[in-house]
Amino acid sequence: MKKNFLVFLTFSLLFSASCGQRETDTGSTATSTATSSAADSKPMTVKGSDTMVVLGQRFAEEYMKRNPGTIVQINGGGSGTGIAALINGTIDLAQSSRSMKDEERQKVQEQRNAAVVETAVAIDSLAVFVNEQNPVRELSVEQLAGIYTGKTKNWSEVGGKKAPIVLYGRESSSGTYDYFKENVLDKADFSPTAQTLQGTAAIVNAVAKDGNGIGYGGIAYARNVRAIAIKGKGAPAAVAPSENSVADSSYPLSRKLFFYTLQNSPERVSRFVEFALSPEGQAVVKAADYFPLTTGGPGDQGTSTAPATGTDAQNR
């Protein structure tokens, strides 16, 4: 018994000693690689908009394929979360579906001691989803505002059946939330009865199952729901979201998606941004069901074979 215990004690001591040894070993190797090899083997960290996670991942996959040895990590969390992380210096690049506020730019300047660089990389159109059974085909921005501030409570008030409207929206950390609040609600508050879900996919899922539901989010997520046509303020007619209507900006709810970096960020970061803007990068944008930045006229991109998901969902 006593002997067993001694053996156990010796082993545990030996084990802990060896553990300690191993720890110091890895510690030294880690520092040596960091000092000897070039900085671009360090993983580049990206965080931000949930809308852009898929896009960022496609960019990263393609970029890493072209540049073996580089590592790019993409995280979501919301545009606000990404920008906060850029301010706190925990990431290299923030993805955001809204432009940075002045006070945030100032905070970057103060805390990171560098100016912030804004690069638009793609265009997303914010679609408004309703259940496929819902007879409502179009809404004006004013009607949408009435619905989401809680003034309009029944579908019959906007040309639908007699049924209460069930609101689905995003968390306040989401850039989509900010965009919708600014451009549709005219900065008024959302109705407290609006349910906030953790992402556009969750909203689409809820609306697909809820006959009286209405939700909003990136068009790329539309599956088994109808993206309705929207009539802008003072516009003559409602426009359905499609590649053409977004490209010629006749669709009222479209927005740019941004990369935010620091001016003094290392070369590996600026190379990634350059890649996103290159023709290859813009092809990735299109493949991920977002809209590429149209540098030429809208006709440039109009010939593409990839259908916009919005029209796709409508036909289904």
Binding site: T81, A84, S172, D189, P192, Q195
Partner: protein, 325 residues
Amino acid sequence: MLRTASRIDLGRGERIRTAQSAFMTVLFTAAGLSAIAVIFLIFIFTFKEAASIFTDPEVGKEANLHRFFVDRQDGPTLVDQFIWQPTSDVPKMSFYPLLAGTLKSAVVGLLFACPIGVAAALFTSEFASRRVREIVKPVIELLAGIPSVVLGFFALIVLATWLQHLFGFTYRLNAYNAGLALGFALVPIVFTISEDGLSAVPRSYREASLAVGATRVQTAFKVILPAATPAIFASFVLAFGRAIGETMILLMAGGNAAITSLSLEDPLRTLSATIAAELGEVVFGSGHYAALFFIGTLLFVITFISNTIGQLIIARMQRRMQGHG
């Protein structure tokens, strides 16, 4: 000569043994104390961040007790009067919608879990054959091992749809849905503690009851159950603590609309889900940040009190039962 050698040997062995036991005592004491220290430090941290609403005038202007508990907006209904909208241009930080959500989900969860948990415990301890008990007990306890995110996901996708089809709710995600999903997580807590309590009732109680001619059912309901009441009550209290603190299930299944209403058909937003949803984007050191930590402190205090009460009741009952045994 031989005798002295053996005596020396013995002395050394004893010394090693005392050294060993002293060493192990120190080791285990340190491990035990570190757990207490960690809890204490977490509380200090949470409290410190929350206290900035009292200490920092800048933060206090944005977030204060008046705003949490007194402020009331103009509006015809409670829903319009007490609002949680901390990121609005005019921040509104009423705790009432969040408290209502937390209480509603906890009540539904407990109403579901308590009867089922106690009934299952009574069944396994009093009626089940040994073979059945050995299957039922681990299976229910396995329920405790299901990650809450899985339960939440199930409630969000499947349960909500079932309930809406069955009862025709306007809102898919409501207090029934959230409470039921929460109930799944509470059943094992109620079951385990109640079952321990029921099995701790001394054999002599059972024997005495059966000896005077009571049936097994009478014995179970009139003798064993009353004797184990403190443990069952403790299981409810501990389940309440868990229900208040549970986050992921309610974040996913509750719909997250901060509505001040007592209707179980409305969506809800709990205190804990609010922290989880909003801490990611909050500006460090702002009023909103302090308000979230204040919620955290509130949750900590509530669960601390309910857990302490639960543990005290269990300890008291164990002492009493041992006295009888």
